[in-house]
Point group: C4
Chain length 196, copies 4
Amino acid sequence: MTKGRLEAFSDGVLAIIITIMVLELHVPEGHEWADLGDSATGFLTYALSFVYIGIYWNNHHHMFQLCEKITGPVLWANLHLLFWLSLYPFTTAWMDESDLARTPTLVYGLNLFAAAIAYTILQRLIIRGPGGAGLREAMGADVKGKLSPVLYVAGILLVFVSPVLGLVPFVAVAVMWMVPDRRIEAYLAEHEAQRS
Amino acid sequence: MTKGRLEAFSDGVLAIIITIMVLELHVPEGHEWADLGDSATGFLTYALSFVYIGIYWNNHHHMFQLCEKITGPVLWANLHLLFWLSLYPFTTAWMDESDLARTPTLVYGLNLFAAAIAYTILQRLIIRGPGGAGLREAMGADVKGKLSPVLYVAGILLVFVSPVLGLVPFVAVAVMWMVPDRRIEAYLAEHEAQRS
Amino acid sequence: MTKGRLEAFSDGVLAIIITIMVLELHVPEGHEWADLGDSATGFLTYALSFVYIGIYWNNHHHMFQLCEKITGPVLWANLHLLFWLSLYPFTTAWMDESDLARTPTLVYGLNLFAAAIAYTILQRLIIRGPGGAGLREAMGADVKGKLSPVLYVAGILLVFVSPVLGLVPFVAVAVMWMVPDRRIEAYLAEHEAQRS
Amino acid sequence: MTKGRLEAFSDGVLAIIITIMVLELHVPEGHEWADLGDSATGFLTYALSFVYIGIYWNNHHHMFQLCEKITGPVLWANLHLLFWLSLYPFTTAWMDESDLARTPTLVYGLNLFAAAIAYTILQRLIIRGPGGAGLREAMGADVKGKLSPVLYVAGILLVFVSPVLGLVPFVAVAVMWMVPDRRIEAYLAEHEAQRS
């Protein structure tokens, strides 16, 4: 039950984050294609942030399928993750409005990085807790999980060369995670097979 | 369980989209009926978009009753649909504020069309997946589903003649879907009858 | 299951309406009590609309406990109710910003009235549907339900005398419904007693 | 069932409150670190309000695990609590934009205090209701619950000396509650052990 309510609350927060980002897309003042073109950066980064939240929702959901008990630290680590994710609309909007200026793009990258670290902390706490052995086993080498923060740091450093260049590793992380991750599904299927 | 959480997340996103559109309705500066009259276009298109989201929620709900397993592609096709739907408040607001100027009305139509295509993709993926035979059988000839994109394209073309004229097929799609669709309910009732 | 998802969706919409109204409360520009005083009307009418949504949520919840099957008409009558409720933030904000000018207060009253009518339609459709006999029996004479639209009309007429006076019957409706309504609870308790 | 829907509705409202606060964080007009620095107060108080809502969600969840029946008064006491919490985005934003001026910080403190009182009322109503003995037993001396309003009053008084000083007890309350409270968990674990 506790788990169900934590999942429902997290789903609610993620659903709101993913939807209110559109409120930061300013309606163009003119009525021509050119006016919409000014919003084009906004549209692309909105799509990027949308995909990120979709990925977090997907991974969050899979991870908690293998979490047996919500302890206090897990609950707060989850809120910590939601905190960084709830800043996405703010940092996305600042980057958009600046037309990919250096500092706002850097701040966006730092926001992505902070969320990735928060996710790693949450994952480690669940692995250490009751029933965590299953999650560790399912995670395996966790290449994607380890690669993501590295790519974020690479993007952050590249922003100093050129903000657009910095976006490349950020997009790479999103693409990498959209390729379906069958580890947990495979783990569950295998264990179900063993039982029967 | 996976299905329950996907439905809950989708419901959350749809509930937020349908509600935040009202935030795009600007409070009139004056305090007379005439001032409210300036918001009248906004009110009507707000109602139209409200009905669209209601229809998607309704159809989404029926479709997933016949979906047995959430695969990775289904999950991403669902997020893809939610992405286009989450742009409704933005495109509705632009069309409103332009008093039905050509380009914004065209963009609104393209948004409606993109969502319809995204829905079709989602439906096909569910039909191809485990348990999809039931959905295909329930869908039958799927006249409405095939007619909707055609009507959207007709509306998009008519916008070049006159934006108001282009809205006619858009409204027609909404009316067509509001007429209750008993296919899935009939299918479920029949199969339940067969079992007992 | 259908009922569960309709309730969850309605809860989501009501939760969002009740919460986003605060976004219409403009943060005062000055930093003194007097500046907050300018928002005082906003605060009171915000509280009033908050109570209304709370009442609708409460009554909605009780009513659907006695609804056995969600038919197409019930689904659309429910969305129709949510449509009028979703306009509360807009009409509340207009009334607030006009400092209770005549037309905005009138429009607020019409919004309240439209929602009451939508609720009555929904209730009648549920009573006519499968299992509706229980709801009709539980409703009894339904004095409150019949009195509410009358009071709203009285308030709308009084607005022509004085907008502040028109608010009196609106507040009376809220107070009347906050007094707990034990009819459905009593009906359920009685029937449960009969079974055992 | 009634309890499930009250929890779901409360979760929805809390999820929205915690997320829309970010909408009050104004995107800086400039594109430098210094421009973000102007938002720094906003960032810190946003984090503080985020933690408060997280604490309320956590405590709310634990408390209702021991609530057996939702009576009318409990339902309204719950809405009363949500009302004060829904004002957090407003009072947080005012305090932020004033750069911690006296009156806005005072109003923020009064908002925190009102929510704490609303929570105490809700707790007492649950304790008095059916099954409330378990909650009273689990609460024990309830040192934290009694200390919180005292600290809020201390903060409110300190604001008259210096607004920044007033924030110290407010932060202290948040820290105090973040330290995990095992009373209800311990109570449940013990009683489960007794049964088996």
